[in-house]
């Protein structure tokens, strides 16, 4: 084989570069995840080139597991992954079907298999994203129907690799326990990707991005206050990374709207409508003893 192969041209033609660029732009931090995805994309691209030049092997196993704490971007990266796999031609469409235990496991005998198959059929041609996959396995109840769903999943993951890619997601420690009690899964999953927690600075950057998307912005004092908020919030229980940030921003928007109403006697400007001020952040009960102090309204 003296024929030369232009890897760069193939890379450019595949359009993954744009997806990876989007990944870099839209997702703050997550350096190890991005690195892993770049590696996987490289592997798949080379695999595709090999297949084109008659060095093909079987369809590689593409099933993945995403582990990490809540709000670290597993679902978002899952969608990007679907995009990458689609551009490389490993799946036929870039749709992703997100399911949890409820969508797979039935409530009585004979209910589980059709339900699981239904979900699998909907995902075929794309990606099946199983959130909190460890709930499928309930060791404390030996008659739990989750086992049946697992068996069907394993069978489909093995036999219909051309038709769909399964991504299992969940907290790291529970996923590890899940894999050790279901060795079939571990061996069928090619890529384990671990999502680290965000640093306070990254969370602040995420907040800016989220506000920008919704055409809001922080006043300089509010930005400072939000940094303090993140520091406080991270120390408190049930912290869910980017999701907590999103919820905090939603509440800040609520307070901003209330404030605008209360000061309705003066003329508002567009600037007023899009600026979130420091008091809206500082009013959070995170600063007044935390979410444990007052259980009145549920919070993240």
């Amino acid at each position: 084989m003296s024929e030369t192969i232009d890897l760069q041209a193939a890379f450019a033609a595949s359009g993954i570069k744009e997806v990876l660029g989007e990944l870099d732009r839209e997702l703050v931090g997550l350096a190890p995840v991005k690195q892993r995805i770049r590696e996987i994309a490289a592997l798949l691209l080379v695999g595709k080139l090999r297949a084109e030049h008659g060095l093909g092997s079987d369809t590689p196993t593409l099933h993945m597991s995403f582990t990490g704490n809540p709000g670290t971007g597993k679902t978002t990266v899952g969608m990007k992954m679907a995009d990458i796999l689609h551009r490389l031609g490993y799946i036929r469409s870039n749709h992703m079907v997100t399911v949890t235990r409820d969508d797979l496991v039935g409530q009585y005998i004979g209910h589980t298999a059709p339900k699981t198959k239904e979900a699998l059929k909907k995902a075929m041609g794309g990606v099946l994203f199983i959130d909190e996959a460890y709930y499928l396995y309930r060791p404390e109840n030996e008659r739990d129907y989750g086992q049946e769903a697992i068996e069907i999943l394993l069978q489909v993951m093995e036999n219909r690799r051309d038709d769909l890619v399964v991504i299992l997601a969940g907290y790291a420690d529970r996923m590890n326990r899940f894999f050790s009690s279901n060795p079939g899964f571990r061996s069928r999953i090619a890529h384990h990707v671990d999502f680290p927690d965000y640093t306070p600075d990254e969370l602040a950057a995420i907040a800016e991005l989220m506000l920008e998307e919704q055409n809001y912005k922080f006043s300089p004092e509010a930005a400072e206050a939000f940094k303090a908020y993140i520091e406080e919030r991270m120390a408190q229980p049930h912290f869910a990374n980017a999701r907590s940030v999103r919820n905090a921003l939603d509440r800040a928007r609520l307070r901003q709207a209330t404030r605008l109403f209360e000061t309705a006697d003066r003329q508002l400007t567009v600037e007023d409508l899009q600026t979130i001020e420091a008091p809206e952040i500082l009013a959070s009960r995170v600063f007044s003893g935390g979410i444990e102090a007052k259980q009145a309204e549920p919070s993240q």
Partner: protein, 139 residues
């Protein structure tokens, strides 16, 4: 006698690849694809039995092809047809229907003639296969 009905009745049976292409066309139009089977091939037998549930929300024909393979495993000796249902307002009916599986041996129909008053004739057809009880008609 080869039973024909539905959209491609004038064509030879579609191959799996062709069926898949048709299913893709249906899904791209947003139609729900169903599989139905019967062992009573009489042309007036419109209500065939549904295999599983209508497959709504599918994005790819692989799911339908999987169910078709499953249906053939169980009812490979019967007629199976694929119907595509359009739920959009104003249509709400089947838009496409064709046979995807048939028994190896199709004995055909008997034409019965009955003479009634005034030497008038009434005609009816009966599938030879329908002489046997349900489930034992083919194979």
């Amino acid at each position: 006698m080869r039973l024909t009905q539905g959209t491609f009745s004038f064509l030879p049976d579609l191959t799996d690849e062709q069926i898949e292409t048709q299913v893709r066309y249906c899904l791209n139009n947003g139609w729900a694809v169903n599989l139905e089977h019967t062992d009573d091939p009489h042309p007036r037998n419109t209500y065939w039995e549904l295999w599983g549930l209508p497959m709504f929300d599918l994005k790819d024909p692989a799911g339908v092809m999987y169910e078709l393979a499953e249906c053939r495993k169980v009812f490979g000796d019967r007629y199976i047809r694929l119907t595509a249902f359009d739920s959009s307002h104003g249509w709400e009916s089947v838009r496409l229907s064709f046979i995807v599986n048939r028994p190896a041996d199709e004995p055909g129909y008997l034409l019965e003639r009955q003479e009634i008053g005034g030497r008038r004739m009434v005609y009816t057809t009966r599938a030879y296969a329908a002489n046997k009880p349900e489930g034992k008609r083919y194979g």
